[in-house]
């Protein structure tokens, strides 16, 4: 297997965008191609979850190739729920590692704000089990809420811990010019003040409005290349050192231990094993905080902290910038936003930015090893990646 490097990265602002989906994907892609210094690629993968349903457009990758005049490159769209982005990175990695391709463009894009929030929530809910979950009116917030209630009961996580994740990540987004949310928040404002319950109502008890990521439009892109090509292009050498992917039962209630996220555990283990490192070697991490509870539980399942102690590490500031393992320093999904198909690619964008030392005021000093966890379904399809900066 050949080594695979990230030679270029690009991103759009995550917000409500008044551009067609193809242009959102293409804009991020152009930035990545310009960053890498290439105008031709062998293969394009475009991660997207909702274009047939939300934007009434199919065969997105063919449209993106045309928009970017990358013909006759191969092209395919990858739909893998909220883990579409990292699944596309994996496909691009395999294409280069196998020797079939030398230069692969991996883009992720979503335009969800074309429909209203309830329609967007319903569209994401279609990833649940059609007969055993979806027909009951289950949404992703409902799944996260039931999971949170169990986690609170079992490990002593409180609404205050969830609010601490909200505050950490939404305020981290202030240092990321591409992030969706640009208003600072406080524990006082969303939990303790008399107005807090009005500012921060329940979405699905015990989860409140500020426990969930916003609905965003946006795109992100990477250019993946072989080692020979990476050296020729002369960009900072960031290598994808490990990728793990794992699945779990479609219906969440079928899992033996309802607070386990076994696919997260296995995907992370496999990525670390492939890279030949341990969770303790990671300098900066992007975890999939579509809901605040997920950052806490993923920080345990991937091996940063022991079971049931993620919220204690959060309390001590270990997951903040300057802590032992800074998590979501660019805002995470909570602050950056969550255009579902783009998220896995945007996580990699943040890690490469950090490993290049380009993080500005959110830079993790001396970051050399990075990690991403892209969480699909409600934990039934998860992709984790490790990255390393080489000198």
């Amino acid at each position: 297997m050949r080594d695979v490097y990230v030679a270029g990265i690009g991103i759009t602002t995550f917000t409500r965008l008044e551009y067609p989906l193809v242009e959102i994907a293409s804009y991020a892609s152009m930035m990545a191609l310009r960053d890498a210094g290439v105008t031709e690629v062998d293969q394009v993968y475009v991660a997207n979850m909702g274009s047939p349903r939300v934007n009434h457009q199919t065969a997105l990758a063919s449209a993106v190739v045309d928009s970017l005049s990358l013909m006759p490159a191969g092209a395919a769209a990858i739909e893998n729920g909220p883990a579409s982005g990292a699944a596309a990175i994996k496909a691009g990695f395999q294409a280069v590692a196998s020797g079939m391709d030398d230069v692969v463009l991996v883009a992720g894009a979503e335009r969800m704000r074309e429909v209203n929030n309830l329609e967007a929530t319903d569209f994401v809910a279609t990833l649940t089990h059609p007969l055993a979950e979806y027909i009951y009116g289950v949404t992703l917030p409902a799944h996260a809420a039931m999971f949170t209630r169990l986690y609170m009961e079992r490990y002593g996580v409180t609404e205050r811990h969830l609010a601490m994740v909200s505050v950490k990540n939404q305020n981290a987004a202030l240092a990321n010019e591409w992030a969706h949310l640009q208003q600072p928040i406080t524990i006082e404002g969303i939990l303790d003040s008399p107005e807090a319950m009005t500012n921060n109502p329940y979405v699905a008890e015990p989860l409140r409005f500020f426990d969930a990521c916003p609905v965003s439009d946006g795109g992100a892109a990477l250019v993946l290349v072989s080692e020979e090509k990476a050296r020729e292009l002369g960009r900072p050498l960031v290598r994808i050192s490990g990728i793990g992917q794992a699945t779990d039962t479609h219906a969440v209630f079928e899992r033996d231990e309802p607070t386990d996220l076994l696919a997260v555990r296995k995907a992370a283990n496999d990525a670390f094993a492939m890279a030949g490192i341990t969770p303790q070697d990671v300098d900066v991490a992007e975890l999939h905080d579509a809901f605040t509870i997920l950052e806490i539980v993923e920080s345990e399942e991937v091996g940063f902290f022991p079971r049931g102690e993620g919220h204690l590490a959060l309390e001590k500031g270990e997951t903040a910038l300057g802590g032992t393992i800074p998590i979501n320093v660019g805002g995470g999904l909570k602050g950056r936003g969550h255009p579902v198909g783009a998220t896995g690619v945007a996580q990699a964008w943040e890690i490469v930015t950090q490993l290049r030392g380009d993080g500005g005021t959110r830079q993790v000093e001396g970051a050399r090893v990075g990690f991403t966890c892209n969480f699909g379904g409600f934990g039934n399809n998860v992709v984790c990646c490790t990255f390393v900066r080489e000198s």
Binding site: T121, Y136, G137, P141, Y202, V203
Partner: protein, 115 residues
């Protein structure tokens, strides 16, 4: 009308599945449709629950109770709750009723109440 929701019992190893899948999760038998159907029990205890406030348009209620129930035979299922003050561990009993209405369709599922 008496309606049921069914578990699927593998004819080779006896493992019960809900919801339906094509291949047994335990013994991986891949003969076609080698499952017997058995109605799921109606009684059980509440594993976890939520009250959803932001509902899709077709639900004409302010909030919707949803929970996961461990049935008396140890299997679990998700259902709607018609319970004012749900609590983890409480005894519940289910009835099959309409859980979602679309313009031309009604979908049936389990609705749990306090036992």
């Amino acid at each position: 009308m008496d309606r049921n929701i069914y578990a699927y019992v593998c004819r080779r190893c006896g493992a019960s599945h809900y919801p339906f899948r094509m291949v047994c999760k335990e013994c991986k038998q891949n003969d076609f449709f080698e499952f017997d159907t058995v109605p799921l029990p109606r009684t059980g205890s509440l594993v976890t629950w939520t009250r959803v406030h932001n509902l899709p348009a077709q639900y004409e209620v302010a909030t919707l109770g949803i929970g996961i129930v461990e049935l008396e035979n140890g299997m679990r299922m998700l259902g709607q709750l018609e319970i004012d003050e749900p609590e983890i561990g409480m005894a519940v009993v289910g009835e099959v009723d309409v859980v979602r209405r679309e313009p031309y369709d009604s979908y049936y599922g389990m609705v749990f109440r306090a036992a």
